[in-house]
Amino acid sequence: MTLILDMLTSAAILFIVATGLLTIFGVLKIINFAHGAWLTVGAYCAVATAHMGLNPWLALPLAFAAGAVLGLLTERFIVRPLYSRPLDAILATWGLGIVIGQLITLWFGRDVQFTANLIPGTVDLLGTTYSAYRLFALVAAIALGLGFSYLMEGTRLGLSARAVIMNETLARALGLDTAKIRTVTFMIGTGLAGLAGVLLTPLTSTDPTMGVAWLVGSFMLVMVAGQSFGALALACLLLGGAQVIVSTYVSPILGGITVAVLAAIILRISPKGFSRA
């Protein structure tokens, strides 16, 4: 039972971390390697909230806003000239990630920072005691996934975004302001990364390099998932679940590389990953 909960919640955490990256990759076809840095910015929003003595839950909207505003600036000044050169965009965002990491170090110092746990304690569930926060993460991941499905399927913005994904030239010819759609999508992606950073704080230490560890995993998942949120959820369940099984029955050290190895194998067999688009 604990194993199943471990698998589900691990997948949920991976999903939360990877959504921001998928949003940007899905619509803009850009791999945002500054994703780890936005996660870190989000986590430091939680630190700042704690310093100001505010309710720790306020860090969530604060981090989304901070991520979105920084995303706006990044898209306008760094990423926009590079849409036709995706490889250069990888370099530029990777460099940006390093710069943000250093700025955070200058501002907050290299030390590990501490934040209050959003939901401490455990709950009794089906005969086992389990971390309340991990169960909350599962709920949060589902809410995030459903919210995003609604955004993409049920709103005007989602319709426009899907039009850009399918055929950008045609979308522009039909009078859609594709530049604006790109900006808004990028902002949502970085905002989600900031949000994910706050949600990670009860699980990990907060330090200037915390995002890097999560970047590789989410990059692999997004490569496997392609452009669809359903595929991302599937990838997280399969790969995250496999990671827990390997860690439990073989070795936690091998478990740490399970996601990367499986992703490589999946992409070798099926270059488009799980995406049918």
Binding site: R110, N117, T129, S205, D207, P252, I253, G255
Partner: protein, 383 residues
Amino acid sequence: MKIPKIISLVTGVMLAGTAMAQDGEPIKIGVPVGLSGANSVVAPSVVQAAELAVDEINAAGGVLGRPLELVIADDGSGAVGAQKAFDSLVYRDEVDVLISMETSAARNAGMPIVTRGQVPYIYTSFYEGKACSPYLFVNAWVPEQQVPPVVDYLMSEESKTYFLVGSDYAFGRGMLEFARNYIEATGGEVVGEEYLPMDGTDWTSIISQLKSSGADALITSTAGGAPNVTLTKQLRGAGVDLPYANLAVDEGTAKNMGADAKDILISASYITGIDSEENRAFLAAMAEKFGDELRTPNDLSVPQYEAVYLYKAAVEKAGTTDTRAVLDALKDVSFAGPRGVISMSKQHHAPLTMYLGKVMADGSVEVVDAFEAVDPGNQCPNL
């Protein structure tokens, strides 16, 4: 008419000279330390401790009438930076002694330079043990001193089965290997031993195994800083409330972790709460000298402070800064510092009083037990 003026001027200068009591060339102390890289969090506290010791000694007249002077060099916390730092300290600055807290990688990289340059080297960081050289002295703990107090205490609290968790690197594995042998030798049983890479963040499956193992107690030895915090947060999140001894957490980190750190057992040769005249005086002097800039003194910075005084005692005993004579004297001298009376008398290592501390709900560390003069064991039988 003019002559008395000159005389009075000359005597004035001489008086000023004797007032400072230090006409000689300064004695240079080289401090290679990790101002950047992994040790950068703790290095400032080490430098502060060295500065206080030098200030105090100079204010009291120096050593053999000569003032002490610190030469700090960044070793980048690793081997490459250490080679540069040791090279420039030994050959360019021509320091009389090296006193420093460093990573094991940096120490190993610096040793050939120390041997070639023939400089006494006092190493002030706890480490995995068995580093031996005629030039090297160590005044901090080795596993033989740190692990037994923790295990003995847990045994006395009726913990018979243990689960060990660590980061996958030399120090983490070395400490837990020692812990496993000691537990088995004293009649306990290890029911699980698991590691995660140093940059690993997901302890989920290890925690689930710990919970299903039925262990009475948990002993961890992760890399300092982030992995330690991550593991503790996830343990508390999963509701683990077993007796929990952490071989790698320092007092400051434990304080900052707040409620999550409550009831963690730590084993150290220095805890700020040590109730002695020397420790109170040391803490007061640090607070007065550094004010708001003060980094909390800790198990890595206090040995640095004491090592400067041990070197002073050795030079005074030898009557010279000559390497051979100082090395001979370092074996015999002792200094009563914040950690008690320290003497590097056992094969260049120091018997130490080890403190078992428990983190309280408000983050302070309370001394549960003190183990006096814990022997470092046979670290260097050939010395």
